[in-house]
Subunit: 371 residues, 2 copies
Amino acid sequence: MSTAIELVTTQTVTIDHELRLESGRLLGPLTIAYETYGELNAQGDNAILVTHAWTGDAHAAGRHHEDDRKPGWWDNLIGPGKVLDTDKYQVICSNVIGSCKGSTGPTSINPATGRPYRLNFPIVMVRDMVRAQKLLMDEIGVTKLVTVIGGSMGAMQALEWGVVYPDFVRSIIPIAGTGRTSPMAISLNALARQAIYNDPLWKKGNYKPEHPPMSGFALARSVGHISFLSEESMALKFGRRFSARDGLFDLFGQFEVERYLEYNGNSFPSRFDCNSFLYLAKSLDLFDVARETGSLEDGLEPLACPSLWFAFSSDWLYRPEQTEEVVEALRQLDKPVEYHLIESDYGHDSFLVEPEKFTPHVAQFLGRLEG
Amino acid sequence: MSTAIELVTTQTVTIDHELRLESGRLLGPLTIAYETYGELNAQGDNAILVTHAWTGDAHAAGRHHEDDRKPGWWDNLIGPGKVLDTDKYQVICSNVIGSCKGSTGPTSINPATGRPYRLNFPIVMVRDMVRAQKLLMDEIGVTKLVTVIGGSMGAMQALEWGVVYPDFVRSIIPIAGTGRTSPMAISLNALARQAIYNDPLWKKGNYKPEHPPMSGFALARSVGHISFLSEESMALKFGRRFSARDGLFDLFGQFEVERYLEYNGNSFPSRFDCNSFLYLAKSLDLFDVARETGSLEDGLEPLACPSLWFAFSSDWLYRPEQTEEVVEALRQLDKPVEYHLIESDYGHDSFLVEPEKFTPHVAQFLGRLEG
């Protein structure tokens, strides 16, 4: 029995629909990039939606080419016999609108002008991303989602699915999420923004794609990168080791952790669009499931399905307390809710690094859902 | 009875001595800026040294002019009848070498060239700062220090005093300190550095003093600023309030916490020299009381006096665990050590914001020292 997914392709669908965004602006027609793993049943009700984080994409599992070095970003979870079992479910992952990985975003052509949107792209809320995903579900024949599961910004999407489409989802599984982004997280995103704005090559978003604001964008990525790690993971991986190539008493000498961050930051601008990065950072900052209602309880009231939450002990970006605030509000509302605080040293990134620590709970939760 | 200090002046002394730095380089003659509060006794043994943090200065208490809006940075602690009682002690605070607040640093004239050092300034370790302070003590007639007390980089200096001059100090009081700077703290400093390097106005340190790399330096300061605050203090002070002047659905719209950080960042370059900021960041990163010995226990072995340590519950820059690691090593060595974990919401900055939470312990500690 194979436990791997065959070769997959990212598909795109263009939906001839103008989506009214939370801001009131209209966006459309919409292109949405997505991948599917496993077969949809005749009723269209065995689908699971996997939602990705900030700089993620639709390629959650399998390989595009036989010689791909790495599979999709959550390949450990998705496949025949795995926790998101493609023998039972059709697993779907779609790229969010606002991104640059195939769905409509700042790099797309604005039909009104025939040129890329760039900073004329509208602000997209997480709720808007979810509404676009619902259009995709309708388009590909999904009638009900067994669950929506994702980490970080993916957790925000899962929660919004539960609140906006309570009749469409049988459960949600938000991981390393929050009910509303904290001022600390906003501040870190503000640093990343400023790093980009400070780069003369940014040109107020009008950089040439082949000449992105490399140094500012690399620094912005490093801000994010640090916030995804933890004191513990850095200590484990780098400690205080000094770069063997550098002089200790040299102002420009680097510790290994610095060199690593610099390397990763510098490799990022070739993989992601800078304006998309800014728009999605804004989506994160504006996320507040209770934005319109004020109280968290009122914001969560429409949620009807069971929810399964995970937080990670070393996550200092979306701290366990933030997940616990939502879980507590759901309990106050007598909603069926299950929560696990997972001990992990890998900070916010734990949902990618140590999925084996929470997948057993996911398996049990889905098992109970099947009855 | 007055509980305030009279008007004070920052004094400078020039010591015609070439200090051999940890790097092996020689630095001198040395100018050291300092302030004193209270009278030194005939034996010269009633002095307390207050050590400042990264961007601090010698102006720890009192006012320079009657119309100064604010007194020195630790005025709450220093004065007649206060915990560092100037009726009993002469309290001394000196600006560290490497800074730009009156002591020899990158803005000083290099006697070898007749021009400012800028990036020709040597790397200064915390231990070098302390050796320079010892020269000051000798110069002004101090024969023994009752204690050395300081927060953050000030705590590092206090610890080094105990280790390097065990016969000269009767106690040390490191607050919000560490035995060795963590890779997380190093990473945050690396962001700050990169923000400055990315600014074309930095010119590899050769900016004109009147044209500093404003935008990069302001961003660097904001990185630091965030790390001194906490999730709790930001939530208390700003929450998720959006700037009333801005549009929610505007990419450039700001939350109040962003506006605050931007304002503070932008006001900083007029108050501090950018190269000094970089040199002191490097001093922080390189701090490791066990650098030469390897193990913390071996590094701490020379310490002979009682030490009093404080850490703050919400400090995520130098976390309580880091102080506790040192305290535990001192206990293993059977050194007299007292430690208090202070509950405070103000993060690393708690040593400046809520001194009343730890000063009672300081008073008792000094009282016991007097016997």
